[in-house]
Structure formats: structure tokens, C-alpha cells
């Protein structure tokens, strides 16, 4: 449905998106994941024909965004980061305006407006001015606006940002209910959202594609690695946190040690292993041999969040290394 090949987008001084390629099948929900400023919004703007690509070929439903923008625009519904609402309009009036703008024939218009208001649960504010609506309602009106012409592809830029937890759950449910009929691309920096809603994840960082895989695969990819929380205290006196961290890092098979907590001489560390390495025995021995008390040791699963951090930070480390050697 969506095909992106070698997409690069340069602004005056920066490269926002650098040589990204991916494909999205019909009916899939794909999550765009990345830290702020990674290039998510830029990529989405190219998909929706708001910005032209500097390089590369982008097709939506078989139409090129540069050669056939009108056909692409007809088939795409877009909810930007801030919903594009006219505060001086009433909800019905606004949706009718957008419906006409998207070219819905006037005989279907009233019916469509009614349908999307039902679907997005904004029917109870239909005659209210948009300027009087709460953030949650605005977001839903924005969503209603995006689906009014029943587009093949839905592009949602951070659809849940700024909402309260209840509204987030509602919005997620709404988006999930839209899947199937529509191909959905959504961006977010909340990882649990991707874990819950998306079938596939595209992770980008600093304009580059870092990983593209199904959520299940991505979690599996680092399943070999384990993460352990180690809590210890000194038998006599207080252990020096940096010393402890150093010792733990020296244990073979450890990839990362993060200090979590320090209270009344008790220290808690989160230790991650390299893939397919068992580190618990060695960890325990090190702690005990150093003369500290091992209070607790429990394993925690690596979440998508950790994977994401590993992927995006290792990228940074690599670039640092490259920078250092050149």
C-alpha cells in the first residue's frame, strides 16, 4: 500500500530523513517510533504530499507523491500533531467543510458526517464551537476529520500525545477499531503504545532507519539477553556505588549496568547481559566475594523500551566511534 524507497529529505542546513526505505502492506497498523526530532513527522509529511521528498521514490496505493499528488491525497487521511481545526467553526460545520474539501459527493455528506461523529464519539458536542472543546475532544474531531472520506491510508502523527490516560485508552481503542479497513501509519514516542497496537514497528533515530520488524520479532531478537536487578548492601560500612558498578561491569557477559537506587547503604543495579549469556551465577559470586551482602536478585524481561534504547543508543555510540576514528 505504501512503498518508500531511499527517501531523503533535506532542509536548508540539516538532513531530516536520510535514505529510508520501507513498505507497508494493506490493512496493517505500523508504528513509527523514534525520539523527538528523529524524522517521524517529516516522513509522514512526505507520505501525505505536504512536503516533497528531496530524493527517493514514495508511492501510496500505487501513485507517486510527486507525479500524482491529487490521487494520493484522495486516498490518504492525515491527522497532524496538532489537529488542524478552525476554532470559529462548530463540529458539524467543520466536518462538513472537510468532507466537501475531500470531495465527498453532497448526497453522501450528511450521512458520512453523522457516521464519523458516531465512530469518534463526538456526536454529543456536534453543535459546540471547536474553540470550546477540551483537548481530548479536539483530538477526536481531528481523527474524525482524517477518516471522513474513508481513505485507504491513515497517517496519524502522535495521535495520543497530550491526552489523559482515559482518553489515551479510548483513542487507542478507536484506532484499533479502524484497522482492517484502513492501512494505518502512526507515530509515537510511547513504546507501550506500539506494543499494544501495532503489528510492525519502524524505528528511526536521527533520520536513519534503525530497525524494521514485527513487534514480536523485535522482542524476540533480544530475548537471548536477560536483565537482572541486583540489590546488595555492604557487610560493614557503605559500599562505594561507582566501585560496585565497576566490579559488576567486569563480570564476563555483562553488557550494561545501570544504578537504580541507593538507600540506607543498600544499592540496586540493573544489569543486562549480552545475548545468550547466563550471568546470574557469576554476578552472585562477584558480589559475595567482594564482601557485600546479596539481598536480592531477580530477572526482569527486556521490554520494547529497552530494545529501543539499545538500538538508538548503540547507534549513537557507533557514530561516536566513527567520529573518533576519522
Amino acid at each position: 500500500m505504501i512503498k518508500v524507497e531511499g527517501l531523503t529529505k533535506r532542509y536548508a542546513r540539516t538532513v531530516a530523513v536520510n535514505d529510508i526505505s520501507f513498505e507497508v502492506e494493506k490493512g496493517q497498523i505500523v508504528g513509527f517510533l523514534g525520539p523527538n526530532g528523529a524524522g517521524k513527522t517529516t516522513t509522514m509529511r512526505v507520505l501525505t504530499c505536504f512536503l516533497p521528498p528531496s530524493e527517493g521514490k514514495v508511492t501510496v496505493a500505487g501513485f507517486d507523491v510527486l507525479e500524482n499528488p491529487m490521487e494520493v491525497k484522495k486516498r490518504i487521511g492525515y491527522l497532524p500533531e496538532t489537529p488542524p481545526l478552525y476554532p470559529e467553526m462548530e463540529v458539524v460545520e467543520y466536518l462538513t467543510f472537510v468532507g466537501k474539501l475531500k470531495g465527498i459527493p453532497s448526497k453522501d455528506l450528511t450521512r458520512r458526517v453523522g457516521e464519523v461523529m458516531e465512530k469518534c464519539a463526538v456526536a454529543d458536542v456536534r453543535d459546540k464551537l471547536i474553540s470550546k472543546l477540551s483537548k481530548g475532544y479536539r483530538q477526536r474531531v481531528g481523527l474524525a476529520q482524517a477518516i471522513i472520506h474513508n481513505p485507504d491510508v491513515l497517517v496519524l502523527d502522535e495521535p495520543t500525545s497530550g491526552l489523559d490516560p482515559k482518553q489515551i485508552i479510548e483513542t487507542r481503542g478507536l484506532i484499533q477499531s479502524l484497522a482492517g479497513d484502513h492501512t494505518i501509519v502512526l507515530s509515537t514516542h510511547i513504546l507501550s503504545e506500539v506494543e499494544q497496537m501495532c503489528e510492525r514497528v519502524i524505528i528511526i533515530s536521527q533520520g536513519k532507519l534503525v530497525a524494521i520488524d514485527s513487534v514480536a520479532n523485535l522482542t524476540n531478537r533480544l530475548r537471548g539477553a536477560e536483565a537482572v536487578v541486583v540489590e546488595l548492601e555492604a557487610a560493614g560500612g557503605r559500599p562505594n556505588p561507582s566501585e560496585v558498578q565497576q566490579r559488576l561491569e567486569q563480570v564476563s557477559g555483562v553488557s550494561r549496568v545501570v544504578m537504580k537506587d541507593s538507600r540506607n547503604g543498600r544499592l540496586a543495579f540493573e544489569v543486562e547481559s549480552l545475548p545468550d549469556r547466563q550471568i546470574r551465577g557469576d554476578l552472585a559470586r562477584t558480589v559475595v566475594n567482594s564482601g557485600w551482602n546479596l539481598n536480592e536478585m531477580r530477572s526482569i524481561g527486556l521490554s520494547l523500551e529497552d530494545i529501543f534504547l539499545q538500538l538508538t543508543t548503540s547507534e549513537e555510540k557507533e557514530t561516536e566511534k566513527v567520529g573518533a576514528t576519522t
Partner: protein
Amino acid sequence: MSSVLLICQKELKSYFASPIAYLLMAFFGLVFGFVLYRSTGDVMRFSFQMQMQGQSMPMNLNQQIISPLLGFASTISLFLIPMITMRLFAEEKRSGTIELLLTSPITDLQIILGKWLGAMLLYLCILLMSMVNLALLFAWGKPDIRPVLVAYLGLLLQGGCLLAIGAFISNTTRNQIVAGGVTFFVCLLLYLLNWFTSFDNGPVWSALNYLSIVTHFDNFAKGVIETKDVIFYITMIFFALFITSRSMESLRWRS
């Protein structure tokens, strides 16, 4: 065409949903009414004096009142137009609604034409306020209607020209104040060109003089439709709307 009208309708709606349309209409009506009152009074006093001295002076409403009055209206419009156009694109850019328009299946040109037409209709509404005043002259006097209509046509053409320039300037920024300020400055410049150049002769000066928006209005104010003036205004409108669409395209590539 229907998309153009849709945008136009939306623009009008947002003008009249905010106080700006009413404020501009009230302001124009007030100033125009006051000037009409003053100038009618002056003409009356002057003709009384002439009669006292035994001379009779034929009252010509068209020449003595209406023509200078509508010329004055063209000056006032220099102040009104920045206030009409400053929000046209700048507001949509700031609030992000431009993303809706640019990702909908309509062309840049349809958006620009719709917005310009909306601004034109508001400008027409403002001009209509002055007709209330002129109606009084028609009720108690017998001015010739044709030159009045010609002058209004001139006002509309001149306004359309400045509105198109204002639309272009509003498209280059997301700040309404900047858009309004720069538009005012440009309008003022086009107005002053006439002053600066009227005492000098020479090809450069006359070319500059030709560019002045006001120069071309003079004939309309006298009730004369000159083809070259009409063509000047229409060319300017097309040119300004054309560079607006070019700048929209170029902003898309640059930003």
C-alpha cells in the same frame, strides 16, 4: 470551481465570526460618513457665499463631493487592506490548519483564489457601507449615477490588486503582525510613488509613476474607464496571485 467557492465561503465565515469584519466596516462607515458630512457642509457654505455675492454657481455633486470622496475612500483602503489580508495565510500556518488544506485534493491555485475571493467579498461589504451615505446624496440631489459606479469599479479593482499583494505577503510568514505591517508598508509605498514622482519628468520617474496604484485610480474617480488602467489592475492581480502560488510551491520545497 466548487473548491474555490468552498474556501471562499470558509474565509468569509471566519471574517464574520471574528470582530474584524464588523470593526473594519464600522471604521470605514464612520470615517466616510464624517468626511461626507464635512465636505457637503463646505460645498454648501461655499455656494451660499457665492450666491450672497450675486454670483450663481451650479452645484455639481459628482465633481464637488462624490469624486473627491471616493478618492479619499481609496486612500482609506490602504489602511484597511493590511487588516483584511494579514491573517489569510499566516493564521493557517501558525495554527497548522494549512496542513489540512495542503493535504486535501485541491490545488494551490484553488486555495489562493478562494482566499482572495473571500477577501474581495469582505472588501466589497466594507465599500457597501459608503453606499448608505451616498444614498442620501441621491435622495436629496441629482448626481449622475454612472461616474459613481465607475469609481466603485475602480475601488474594487484597486482593492483587488492590493488584496492580492497582501495575500502574497501573508503567505511568506506565519506571523500576522509581520504580514500586516509589511503589507501596510508596501501599500503605502505604492501610494507614495505617486507623490514622489509627480513633480519629476523622465522615463524612470514616469515608469515609477505608472506603477503607483493610485495613479490609475484617478481616471476612475473622474468617471472615466480607461482600458490601460483596467489592464494595469487586472495584470497586477494576476501577477500577485501568480507569485503567491509560486511562493507556496517554493516554501514547500524549502521548508
